[in-house]
Symmetry: C2
Subunit: 297 residues, 2 copies
Amino acid sequence: MDPMNRIEQALSCAIEQSLAVAVAQAQEPGCPPRLAAAIRYSVFPGGARIRPRLTLAVACACGEDNPEIAESAAAAIELLHCASLVHDDLPCFDDAPTRRGKPSVHRAFGERLAVLAGDALIVLAFQTLARGCGAAPRRLGPLMNIIGRAVGMPSGIVAGQAWECESHVALAEYQRAKTGALFGAATMAGAEAAGHESLPWRKLGERLGEAFQVADDIRDVCSTEAELGKPIGQDKRLGRPNSVAHLGVTAAVAHLDRLIAEAVDSIPACSGAAGLKAVIQMEAQRFLPSELAQRAA
Amino acid sequence: MDPMNRIEQALSCAIEQSLAVAVAQAQEPGCPPRLAAAIRYSVFPGGARIRPRLTLAVACACGEDNPEIAESAAAAIELLHCASLVHDDLPCFDDAPTRRGKPSVHRAFGERLAVLAGDALIVLAFQTLARGCGAAPRRLGPLMNIIGRAVGMPSGIVAGQAWECESHVALAEYQRAKTGALFGAATMAGAEAAGHESLPWRKLGERLGEAFQVADDIRDVCSTEAELGKPIGQDKRLGRPNSVAHLGVTAAVAHLDRLIAEAVDSIPACSGAAGLKAVIQMEAQRFLPSELAQRAA
């Protein structure tokens, strides 16, 4: 199956199986309908699904023995990413009116359901992982450590967002926590899901995450709202660190290219290393839309 | 060790070990200091710690073989409870100015850090459980299922809170999701942590949870703010279901007593059943402060 289909199907299964518990166990009340709707709205239709694609690509390159494990890890990582978007868009943070080309969750469902949908997605991510590891319980603990570390304290996404509440922030630390950590988890989880040692795969994900963040910074300055499906100029408006503001456009694009090269060079030896290199280079091409790359160059 | 000390120590370890990762791995940035402070503030000093006490009491009655597992499950359950309090107090929900006798987290640290502290506590709960099951990886999956189900969709705490966003709510469903689910998980996790079948232990927790919710409803109507450490009359003010409003005080107190009796009668056969019955009866006495029980009678 095409990786994108595998991811969409794994996400859909994660949500619908969780909701279906209510139907299967007659004594249970169903899920509050607006919460269920807000959850689906938060996850579908998705963006590029870059993080879970990375997980599946690495697991495949490592010769995975049970695809269900990598699919559950990929789905967990994307659910956590969606949760972070829903909470980052809240009025107390970015107060973003749009996301992925439609109203943000709090605009569509209200602030209370946006808080709860984010919370439910975090829980669902870990439940999904536990379900996927049913046949290989010894992989669950290490996968939870990898993914939990990328999301929580002291240096996961939540910590990255919390750096915005501090008076002194170093750009590299902020970006590492806010984007690099979950990308690092995506590649490490792919290896772990296939029964490989995960640590050698961290650099690949972290460099790609840093590259993705630099590309995001460039898009925030050089793109249009129609292209992005969300407001532009957010970093300047919110006083957030931005690589283009820091380095200028030309140096930021050069930095992006260097990070992608370092990522590709870091790929550990494995049966599918050559194919993976090609996939990574193709994926990284999509970080910046081609018109934007030309415009920025 | 006294159960209360075991719980406080397990919670403190969970938080400080997570923060200490930064120090141990020199390449990691530390946790944003205000996030770390908000996390500690959300968890300490605690309330009665009723849920984790239940977990430890059941594990002990079942003759646990590895205390670390029950302690991690107890800590995970309390961390999730603390997360739900922090998010429930947010301006978009109860907008509670105080909690446990001090300013609520969003009043003390701002709304952004209250959202993030809640998120980080959810993640930390699952990380703590994974760490505690390091020596018994086969118990991690079942414990995650038990605890995840009590927190997420379709009928955990988050769903309970989401019923407040629906126009039609049945009192029993709302209370089951909002309070009963996590109490049910507390007793089931205690049994599972000791290697016993968990399902027979569900009724004990759910009945106690329902009783606790009825007691909370009585306190909300009949207590004073000084006794509770948080505002009273919240249910009426926020238009939420309340047993006293529904049944009257006398019938609500009788309902509370009946639920506690049902809980005690449901305790499955196990080596420590007699001692557990005594503990549960003693704990349940504390649901209503004695002056309040007399005043309400």
